[in-house]
């Protein structure tokens, strides 16, 4: 713990705040790119039903790929083409996006699919056009699942961005990798604690956002106890 509480490590170009900033910057860029790809694609597949076969296979195949191997392979392939820092930033971002797309894509698809068909029909019956049904009915209903996909994607990204320190990406992983290289266990522990806290913080933040933005009608939060619909019993007249 000594490392963490030494004020000298909390300032400067390789201080802890800088590392946290870098970690967040890479993570959020990757998450934004992944969301821009995965959300529209998930909506498209969910609404049209085209390309469903892709979903299950993609998620499983990417889970089996070892991220460390993928990262190192891409660095060796890409870095000769970029002499500057882009040589390792670009492959890191590609891997982060690659890992973040499947959870968002599958959850968006599942969310759109799971929307009650009666709600869509009701909206159409009320004169909503297809686009308005999508933005006002299907998307709000799918939102909890989409956000849960974003949540697992962000955790995956924060975790993998740590690993990317090995191929000299900045961020909190630096403390772990440099600590290992310098045989400085307290530095490694500091990095591990900070990364774990960062992940926990963002997990809870997204859980909080989910509770705030999801329509109360979906979570039935406002209904204290949902009344059980009793079948109307007609008195038997003999």
């Amino acid at each position: 713990m000594n490392y963490l509480f030494d004020p000298a490590h909390w300032s400067g170009a390789d201080g802890i705040p800088t590392l946290i900033g870098e970690h967040l910057l890479y993570s959020l860029i990757a998450l934004a790119i992944a969301a821009v790809i995965a959300v529209p694609l998930g909506i498209y597949i969910g609404v049209t039903g085209k390309g469903v076969f892709m979903i299950a296979g993609l998620a499983n195949a990417l889970r089996a790929l070892p991220s460390v191997g993928l990262l190192i392979l891409l660095v060796l392939l890409i870095s000769p083409a970029f002499p500057s820092r882009m040589g390792y930033i670009l492959p890191s971002l590609i891997v982060l996006v690659l890992l973040a797309v499947p959870p968002i894509l599958t959850n968006t698809y599942a969310g759109v699919r799971a929307v009650d068909a009666a709600a869509v029909d009701a909206a159409r019956g009320m004169g909503f056009r297809t686009m308005k049904i999508l933005t006002d009915v299907q998307l709000p209903c799918a939102l909890p699942l989409v956000l849960s996909g974003v949540r697992s994607a962000l955790l995956q990204i924060i975790s993998t961005a740590t690993i990317a320190a090995y191929i000299s990406l900045g961020g909190l992983g630096r403390l772990l990798i440099d600590g290992k290289a310098q045989n400085d266990y307290s530095q490694m522990v500091a990095g591990a604690v900070l990364v774990a806290l960062l992940a926990l913080f963002f997990d809870q933040l997204l859980a909080f956002i989910t509770r705030r933005v999801v329509s109360p009608g979906l979570t039935r939060r406002t209904i204290k106890s949902a009344p059980v619909a009793e079948p109307v019993k007609t008195p038997v007249t003999v």
Partner: protein
């Protein structure tokens, strides 16, 4: 691909593969053995369920590299001890499976439980001979996810210098040499597919009453 290198390194690659299998499979078995009673507990008690699932969720958010580094503090092991990897992956497996086991037991139809009771099965017998077997498909679906992600997570331990297939990645990176990296990725994916397939077979063997359709 440099096949000459591959031939020379064959023994070493088999050694790394062996370690990789051990480091991925032992936590899977341990995790399942721990998650079964915990999941049953969560299934039985409505108060325990949110608590166990909540703690499991928090443990699951801790990045793997951080967990590998923090466990020596808890276990009193050395940083290079493979035991840390086993413990970390066991934690992830338990965290994933506690909820799965509880939900699997919840998914057993009430009629089935009642029928077992009516046929004279007592609590423990009903659990072992009726409820758990009926829940096997759900549990094995969760086990497949855990198995495949374990194989991938083991390779992260290479960054700490613990030998397994991930060592091929770090070796390839240091030498700027593609062959070990490609061999490592291919072996990892094959290993994940084999474990996945074994769990599917095990599931089919344990649930002979389900119709023979390809469920993926």
């Amino acid at each position: 691909m440099n096949f000459e290198w591959l031939g020379r390194q064959f023994d070493n690659i088999v050694f790394l593969l062996g370690w990789h299998v051990l480091l991925a499979v032992i936590p899977l078995v341990l995790g399942l053995l721990i998650a079964l009673p915990l999941g049953w507990w969560a299934h039985r008690s409505r108060r325990i369920y949110p608590l166990l699932v909540g703690v499991a969720g928090l443990l699951y958010t801790v990045p793997s590299l951080a967990l590998f580094v923090l466990l020596p503090l808890v276990l009193g092991t050395k940083i290079l001890d493979p035991l840390n990897i086993v413990a970390a992956l066991t934690i992830y497996t338990v965290a994933l499976l506690v909820r799965v086991v509880a939900d699997a037991l919840d998914s057993v139809p009430e009629d089935t439980v009642q029928a077992a009771k009516a046929m004279g099965y007592r609590g423990y017998q009903s659990l072992m001979k009726v409820e758990l077997p009926v829940g096997v498909p759900v549990i094995s679906a969760g086990l497949r996810v855990a198995a495949v992600s374990n194989v991938s997570l083991v390779s992260v331990a290479a960054l700490l210098g613990i030998p397994q297939l991930g060592s091929l990645f770090t070796q390839g990176f240091q030498l700027r040499f593609f062959t070990p990296i490609i061999v490592g990725i291919v072996l990892c994916v094959i290993l994940a597919m084999i474990l996945d397939g074994l769990i599917i077979l095990l599931n089919r063997w344990l649930t002979p009453w389900t119709p023979k359709v390809v469920a993926s």
